[in-house]
């Protein structure tokens, strides 16, 4: 009984926190349906065109689907960019799993000389601001003749050390004795990795995928720097500049960016858990 009460209490707090976090986002759907004149009127003070304070109508007074019409019907580019984003994100996530999982596993389970240093290096490379890496990466990509090609964004992202770092954490929590026992039983390293490592590190993997997804779904700087041709751009670059007169349109784009993300959250989490469990069983 007491436990139940406590659970309710915890739920309430967390729900309050979640509500607080989501509250500003409530502006988005309303804004996407608000017509430009209304938007301009209520935001006039911010535009420097009026005294008093800006207000916000969560539900527009004169709702319009004009922005969505413009986005979904009048701009064929939208779909192209949308699928670009989907394609890029999918390729990156897949690549990161293929490349990053073994690396993370190696860091977590093998003791070799220079491991700590190398791992530290990975962390530092992860932390380096992109602004600094922009120039040298550009040089490398150009030498590889990948500049202005989707690979210029996808490949460096695949080898990002970020997912390694997160999945590593998941793997270190595996009890070393289990692995030893498996080795004694004559299991190969890959077998151990697939059969024991993957299922046990699944929370880490899941976290890595979710976080990577969030990062690459809204990737801005890399495509802007490495893709010249707008036809290859992801959706995140389609947003107009922060320009309040276009706010309604920007909000409409945001809605279209958010919906797939919600889908991924909703569907992805279960599917992922099952999938990882399945791989483990099959081997």
């Amino acid at each position: 009984m007491r436990k139940k009460k406590r659970a309710w209490f915890a739920t309430a707090i967390c729900a309050a926190a979640a509500a607080l976090i989501c509250a500003p986002l409530l502006m988005i759907p309303g804004g996407s349906l608000m017509d430009s004149a209304e938007m301009r009127r209520i935001l006039a003070p911010i535009l420097g065109e009026g005294s008093g304070f800006a207000v916000w109508h969560l539900i527009p007074l004169y709702p319009t689907i004009g922005h969505f019409y413009r986005l979904l019907i009048e701009s064929p580019a939208f779909y192209r960019l949308f699928w670009n984003t989907v394609g890029m994100t999918a390729a990156i996530l897949l690549g990161q799993l293929v490349v990053g999982l073994p690396s993370a596993w190696a860091f977590a389970t093998f003791r070799f000389r220079g491991r700590d240093f190398l791992f530290g290096l990975y962390v530092v490379l992860m932390l380096l601001p992109f602004q600094v890496m922009l120039l040298p990466q550009y040089i490398v990509l150009q030498k590889l003749q990948m500049y202005n090609h989707p690979a210029a964004v996808v490949l460096p992202a695949i080898f990002s050390t970020f997912p390694v770092f997160i999945m590593y954490r998941g793997f270190t929590q595996i009890d070393g004795e289990i692995l030893e026992a498996a080795r004694l039983d004559g299991a190969g390293e890959w077998q151990i990795f697939l059969q024991i490592g993957l299922p046990l590190g699944k929370m880490g993997i899941q976290a890595a995928i979710v976080l990577s997804f969030l990062e690459y779904w809204n990737l801005v700087e890399q495509p802007m720097a490495f893709l010249e041709e707008q036809a290859m751009w992801p959706l995140s670059l389609y947003l107009p500049q922060i320009d309040i007169s276009q706010a309604g349109f920007a909000f409409a784009v945001a809605v279209m960016v958010l919906i797939p993300a919600l889908f991924v959250f909703a569907l992805g989490q279960d599917a992922l858990e099952e999938g990882i469990a399945y791989i483990g069983v099959k081997q």
Binding site: G48, G50, Y138, A225, A231, P240, Q246
Partner: protein, 791 residues
Amino acid sequence: MMRGRKRKMLLCVAAITAVMCAALFGCGSKEEEIPMGRYADREVKLPPGTFSYMHSCPDGGYYLYGADANLTYVDAQGESREKNWSWENNANIRVKYEVGGSDSGAAVFSYTPKFWVDKEMEALWISGDTCYLYCYVDEAGKNYALEPHGEGYQKGTNLNIFAFSPEGDLYAASENHVYRINVESGETDSLFATSGQVKSIVFADGVMLAADREKAYFYDMAAGKLTDGSSALDEFIKNHSTGGLVMAVSDKDIQGKVMDGEAADTSDTDSADDTGNAQILYMACRTGVYRYIWGGSVIEQIADGQMTALGDTQREPIALQALDNGEFRVMFSGNTMVEMYYDETLPARPSRELTVYSLEEIGWIRYAGQLFQKEHPDVLVRYETGMDGDNAVSKEDALKNLNTRLLAGDVPDVIVMDNMDIEQYADKGVLKELDGILQPYLDDGILYRNIVEGMRMTDKEKVYSVPMMVYLPLWLGEEMYLDGEESLDAIVAGMELARQKHPEGPILYTLYPKDVLQQTMPVCLPAWTGEDGSLDVEKLTAYYRAVSRMWEIDCAGFDDAGREAWQKNNMEYYEPTDRNMADISFCYQYNAQQNFGETWLQLGFLMTPQVGMTGIHVEKANMAADWQPKELDDVVTYGTYAGQADNVYWAKTIVGLCEQGKETELAEEFFKLLLSDEMMRKWWLDKPRNQSGLTIRKDSLGDILDIDNIEFGQVMGFKDPTGINYPDFWPTEEEKQWLYQMMEDADCCYRPGTMLEECAMETGIRVLNGELTPEEGAGEVERKMAIAMEE
């Protein structure tokens, strides 16, 4: 064992490193021979009139139609004759829209009427839908009303594309359907649905091909059904329909002119071995001309858009004709047409590339690129812009990308430095000194020396970039407000005076605080930085004080509600998004529709030679017309003004050359082309209303202002025999001399987009809003500038 393993690992790492190094740094390049022969183009002189549609006839002639022009037939030899259509006799046409023509000269067009006969249609019209009526004109030029009806056609559905088959049947397309219409009875069959608006319809071998922006539909006219499409063609259409895609069918093959593998979109080998008499579909779009053999799966490129007029992003192709001699005619929006012909003497690919960069698209530069390419057939001019369109790329992002290229050694040859920190780039050795190239121009007095001199910078005191055009400050108002004395204080004093005389309403045309800043900052900003680049805080404080006073005076004429009402009235004409001062304009932009009579003093910039100068008169007339009493007309006058800096000019299209560019000689030639009389003058003859600025070439400026320049006079309407367009307003000799003198005097360069300006603007708005005192504002700017200087 451990050791062996380790060594293996080390070896592996070493091997990978070596391979990567080789891949990265050992890039061997092969020189290859460039084959000869490619398509080039020439402009076709169209008969008088404005045309928006072309129908090509199998004999090589074509029909031209336009909403305001009569049907004109041009035969294969280029002789034109006007067909006497009775369009104009139809009194009930308000606006004509789309046209479709046949080989015989019959045509169908859509229009909106002046009055509606059909009540049902009128109801639709009133509800806000634009719906068309249709008219069929037979070969003899006789008009018949065409009323589409039938199963599958809903009344009021707009038909936007019309095409006559070689047999003379009319096909038409709405937003999502294709129909066949009997021109006599109006009976309409719905043939098939499409996913979007069909853009072009062509016929071959009893098959109609209709293409929207995503797919090509093949319709067998005899069997009356859709046949298999071509996925290759669909793919092509999807990728190439941006900026217009036009089609034409011909049974004449132009084998051998296919561009070689790499340039073509697809290079499968099953190309035209057994084309025989097969029909060939030609398609033209921004990237070039392509051919597709009917029923095949290969699309080959035959002409490169970048090398021809097709690559021009300013216009869109609207019709294509494939001629028997292997040439093409392309009709463009904007009433232009080119013929593309195969020239054996030109190299198939340009062997050299000249890269021109600017932050934002500048029409004049693109125009120069095309001209340059014509003069140098072996050169491809790549014009790249850092930020275009409506996307998330900001100026900083664009500059970051440019700097990446510069640092990586991938340097453009010519940079247009508008909105960039020229001094920085000159200092870092990116820009080349232009003194040598400019010397002859200055010695011969071709350019305004003072304007070039105003661009000297860095410790070396050299010229690194030159504005091709300038704007000059100009005020308009009652003489007494601003007579002769030029300073910021004089403007304030003038406003005080005006306020005394006219206690109500605005004095300046300023809706918001930032307008006052925009109108005064260009003539003050150059005075704020000292020799060493440090900020003169006292001057900035004085500036903030003066503009605060100006805003106060301006606001004193209203109560809050009155001001808001005035702002609301003007909202329509006012661009709220522009925060970077790029678009202050003057006479021409603010035209008679505006409520200008309420302003007593206008500050702005003279942006175009003729329109601006004549605009002064138009504007004077407007101001006077709204003023009470009317006699003020004589008092309205104009002049240049100064703030804290004197003789300011606003530099536009500032061109610099790159020290590290790959084609330095070509770059120099391009630069000279920009400075040529042709470039400086022709542009205004083509586009007299654009606001590129006053040319820095003396003779060109004189030519543009010469009303005897017949071509120009026609374009402008000043020599129109009907005399509708204010011939009286053409600048007098005296006025021209005044302008030339102003050009001679301008020696203080104002360049928009500097960090100081952005900073002073942002803070200035807060000062005018009363959030900060002028002293605090100047202090804040000083602190930010200190950080910037220290960096």
